[in-house]
């Protein structure tokens, strides 16, 4: 059962991701991105990591992609005026590099994580919270400083008179 669901959602995630980069209309890409994010959230749920799944949806689908969509709407380029994209050498190389990266990470993943068996209580609110505020406290605080810097930067940019 779990394997079937894993393959199903994994396939949805991968297909969605491919659609994101191949669609011409930016709005379609954004919607496929949501689909991919949801499929990944479902994979988290399959691993009992409900917290990660919820955060994935809240942060990525609920906020980041909304911003994308917001910008797409604001600019609203008509479909016939979209730039034509060709398969240049860089693109081909990029696809090759991405393939190699995926293969390598699959090998690494098999080595390090897959063998550990069921990851029962890794992604719940309690465990994530505890890990963030003990083992990864420094990283957590540094990230928050980084975000603060970004906020201040945004305000500074908005306030600057041109």
């Amino acid at each position: 059962m779990e394997a079937v669901l894993f393959i199903l959602f994994g396939a949805i995630a991968v297909c969605g991701a491919i659609m994101v980069v191949t669609r011409k209309s930016p709005m379609a890409s954004a919607l496929y991105l949501i689909l991919t994010l949801f499929a990944v959230a479902a994979l988290f749920v399959l691993r009992q990591a409900h917290f990660l799944a919820a955060v994935q949806v809240i942060v990525y689908a609920g906020a980041v992609v909304v911003l994308f969509v917001f910008v797409i709407m604001l600019i609203n380029v008509p479909e016939d005026r979209l730039p034509v994209e060709r398969a240049t050498t860089t693109r081909v190389l990029g696809v090759l590099a991405a393939g190699i990266f995926i293969l390598e990470s699959a090998v690494l993943a098999r080595r390090f994580w897959m063998q550990k068996g069921p990851a029962a209580e890794v992604g719940t609110v309690e465990t994530v919270g505890r890990a963030l505020f003990t083992d990864y406290l420094l990283a957590f605080e540094i990230t928050s400083v980084l975000l603060l810097a970004a906020v201040i930067g945004a305000i500074a940019l908005a306030k600057r008179k041109t």
Partner: protein, 365 residues
């Protein structure tokens, strides 16, 4: 019945009953909205639709509306993006109903020797799930606005996405206090946590331990649901009908249903988080425990009934509050909405978290 079969049957029954409750309430709420608005404005409201001459105070109007929407022409404007235009109403209806999945309708009951939770799914991320779902509602609006291929829906969609993004932040932050007080994000635990008494007199409901959080959450929720005074995305004086201007027939009614589902589910969420969910004041598992120390024994079946009744009446009250507020408060201006969201609600909700933390720290010492 054998184990797994029984579980599946229970799950299906729960989903069916709770969904039926929500959709039934949606139908009633459309009537309440029209009739309530009429009486508030010294009018009579709908009273003409009848079945065999029985008018029943216009109660058949929702039925007539539904029939009308079903038989209207399903129209797609020339400029619209066909696929997205048709998807938008679904994007808006689905997240609206999903929230009900984590709401406990009553305490656990024992049927045929098994404990059954009156809740579709008791997720350990309860409230976060609610956030995730409510974050999705914006897509329906945005997609409708964009795919209609006309300027008023586009403006409505832009307004609404900006508004929802702004208020989602304070909505999330206003609930942190609740997590802190009840030490859980699991809905069932939050409700059980509200069973105690505060200072020996008040029920320990969320609204009494988090009054500021309650007000902030209520306001944010109204903004999220695009209800007056935050219904600028469909401000008819300047945007016709906002994001659903180009929609007709059943697709339009799906937007309407989504709006009322927001009200119903939102009312259930407020009742659960801030008003004790199914907790009946002073009612314990065995009977009433009055503040003076006296007790009144109540049979368990009646306790269950009282509790479910308490939940339903709370939901009804908050659903009515949506209507009541709508016909009392005028619409805000757009800059006022943004100012309220970022300059008032956000600092206040941060202050609320800080104050709650401080008080908890002092109390635990």
């Amino acid at each position: 019945m054998t184990g797994p079969l029984f579980d599946i049957a229970v799950a299906v029954a729960r989903i069916a009953v709770f969904f039926a409750f929500c959709f039934g309430l949606v139908v009633v709420m459309t009537w309440v909205e029209r009739k309530g608005a009429a009486y508030i404005q010294d009018r009579r409201g709908p009273n003409r639709a009848d079945i065999f001459g029985i008018r029943a105070w216009g109660l058949f109007h929702p039925l007539a509306d539904a029939l009308k929407f079903l038989f209207k022409e399903d129209f797609i404007p020339d400029n619209a993006h066909r696929l997205f235009y048709q998807m938008a109403p679904m994007f808006s209806l689905a997240p609206a109903i999903l929230g009900i999945a984590v709401i406990p309708f009553g305490p656990d009951v024992t049927v045929m020797g098994r404990r059954i939770a009156l809740q579709i799914a008791d997720l350990n991320v309860g409230i976060l799930y609610l956030f995730a779902v409510s974050g999705m509602t914006v897509y329906g609006v945005v997609l409708a606005g964009w795919a209609s291929g006309s300027k008023y829906p586009l403006l409505g969609g832009l307004r609404s996405s900006a508004q929802m993004l702004s208020y989602e932040v304070s909505m999330g932050l206003s609930l942190i206090g609740i997590f802190m007080v009840f030490e859980s994000v699991r809905m069932s635990q939050i409700v059980t946590g509200q069973g105690g008494l505060l200072f020996g007199v008040l029920p320990k409901w969320g609204v009494f331990v988090q009054p500021l959080g309650f007000i902030l959450f209520l306001v944010a929720q109204y903004a999220e649901a695009n209800r007056t005074p935050f219904d600028l995305p469909e401000g008819e004086s300047e945007l016709v009908a906002g994001y659903h201007t180009e929609y007709a027939s059943f697709k339009f009614s799906m937007f309407m249903m989504a709006e009322y589902l927001h009200m119903v589910v939102g009312a259930a969420v407020v009742a659960t988080l801030f008003f004790g969910g199914w907790q009946f004041p002073y009612l314990g598992d065995a009977g009433f425990l009055l503040p003076g120390g006296s007790t009144v024994a109540v049979p368990p079946a009646l306790v269950l009934l009282l509790r479910i009744g308490a939940f339903v009446s709370k939901v009804l009250f908050f659903a009515w509050l949506y209507v009541w507020i709508r016909w009392t408060i005028p619409r805000l201006r757009y800059d006022q909405v943004m100012r309220l969201g970022w300059k008032v609600m956000l600092p206040l909700s941060l202050l609320n978290i800080f104050a709650t933390g401080l008080i908890l720290l002092l109390l635990n010492k």
